[in-house]
Symmetry: C2
């Protein structure tokens, strides 16, 4: 109980921290793009679990970094995540009307604006991660570290990562993909950015290779799978009000999911197996892995 309470307090701190960063990144008094900026703020602020920024902070702190040097990476991964949601919701993709309990971006604004919101959020993520452009001070991230974070983030969202996963998803709707294909899709579509979030935290702490880095790489992979399988389970067994999006949407679209391929009980078992593999991977971090361990439990226990 006290452990879980400790995690809840940290999650709330990190969420508040991330919210302030996102507010700052999205502040704009540029009149010609008022509508675009407003749509970017609408899609990004005031909702969301902020799991990816939390992973940046949690992994970074486990490796010894202060939160200040993790802020840019935390904001960047969330901006990327939001861009992907806005584009995934488009009529040409999942055609979703509801997101985080409110109309999706293309419903609240229009389709062209939603395309541009995603495009501009992706650019903003890289802008934020590239940093302010002054020579780094003693407490700042070095250029080599920032560059490595940019590299890891960019790779995680390209054809071998998030965009590729979404392409597999697009092709799979209504078709057969098989268990192996489904795992590949999930690893890329959700897993790659979740893993990148963990690694950006580590790199921010100066850990970019070695046993701890490899451990976190593995943790990120397993956590990503656990997260997505649990998401599939919630789409079948969850509550629309809590989720803020329509349940049963995957099934309605004929999309392959872990429950549709393996059954609900086996899917739940698999989520827990990946959670445990994630936790086991943390061994090289010793005591410092405590919050990351709790986070793995949180990921498969959440109701939304």
């Amino acid at each position: 109980m006290s452990d879980a309470h400790g995690l809840d307090a940290r999650l709330a701190q990190w969420r508040a921290r991330c919210e302030r960063m996102l507010e700052r990144c999205l502040a704009s008094d540029d009149e010609p793009t008022r509508r675009l900026s407003e749509a970017m703020r609408y899609s990004t602020l005031g909702g969301g679990k902020r799991l990816r920024p939390i992973l940046v902070y949690c992994a970074g702190e486990a490796c010894g970094a202060a939160p200040e040097v993790l802020d840019d990476a935390a904001a960047a991964v969330e901006l990327i995540h939001v861009y992907s949601l806005v584009h995934d919701d488009l009529p040409a993709m999942d055609n979703d009307d509801l997101r985080r309990g409110r109309p999706t971006c293309h419903r609240a604004y229009d389709e062209g604006t939603a395309v541009l919101v995603g495009d501009a959020l992706q650019a903003l993520a890289f802008e934020v991660l590239a940093g302010p452009g002054r020579d780094p001070g003693p407490g700042d991230l070095g250029a080599a570290q920032r560059l490595q974070q940019l590299r890891v983030l960019a790779c995680s969202i390209g054809t071998l990562g998030m965009a590729g996963g979404q392409a597999i998803d697009l092709a799979a709707a209504g078709g057969q993909i098989g268990a192996a294909g489904l795992e590949i899709m999930h690893r890329r579509k959700t897993g790659a950015l979740i893993q990148a979030s963990v690694l950006l935290g580590a790199i921010g702490a100066g850990v970019d290779s070695g046993a701890q880095y490899t451990a976190l790489e593995r943790y990120g992979t397993e956590l990503g799978l656990a997260f997505q399988i649990h998401d599939d389970v919630l789409d079948v067994a969850g509550d629309t009000t809590l989720l803020g999006k329509q349940t049963g949407a995957d099934a309605a679209r004929g999309k392959p999911t872990y429950p549709s391929l393996h059954g609900l009980a086996e899917a739940s078992r698999l989520a827990i197996a990946h959670r445990d593999a994630a936790i086991a991977a943390l061994a090289p971090l010793g005591d410092r892995a405590q919050l990351l361990t709790q986070l793995a439990h949180y990921v498969v226990n959440r109701s939304h």
Copy 2:
């Protein structure tokens, strides 16, 4: 004549160099994303003026850089340009059927794939610009230089740059925008990336501030306007076969353009005035500006 011939030969060299880079960046043997990769190659390879990579090489060489250190930046700006074309052509945006003489990406593939092609090309541009991830050797770009290039590129394509310009364009279709509004739109939609291409070349040569940098900044702004105004003129007075896209498309959409606001003769005069301002800005570069000067003439003389 001999000057123009000298430029033509260099343009051909740079184009071939850029083509090889793009081929390499887009090579993929990943089976699950075969269709996505194919659509990315379809949209990128085998066409296009490659003006933006040419600007990287031309500005970089004027500042003393070898083409080898400019390759990543050259590929990155073209990948960004192609992503913007693919998204601009979407039904929710300009709804174009023809691009570079062939069906647009969403026509040749499908709309969802076209969204992902743009998304993945943007990510790939940043991946390429972030570099290979090994410690830089003696002939390589340093981390600080790459980071500065990433910063300039990211800023040039966000709300204050390309995506913002496209949002203004979207809002302007069928409405009134005025001459000042039209210039702001053009500066962002096309000008910002053209300027960034020039600056990425300079930064690649180690020039990231001072008189030469400011000169190139100004050159990029003026060249961008000259280019876009000439593009508007070609949309009225050009040839569909040469252009590889439908002429009269702007007028058909009720889009404000330089000819529609100022008349064709005044628009042509303005293009030349901006060309001359671009050339005048190059003074601090002395003799090294020769090819950049020729390039400015090329930009407003081209027939496609």
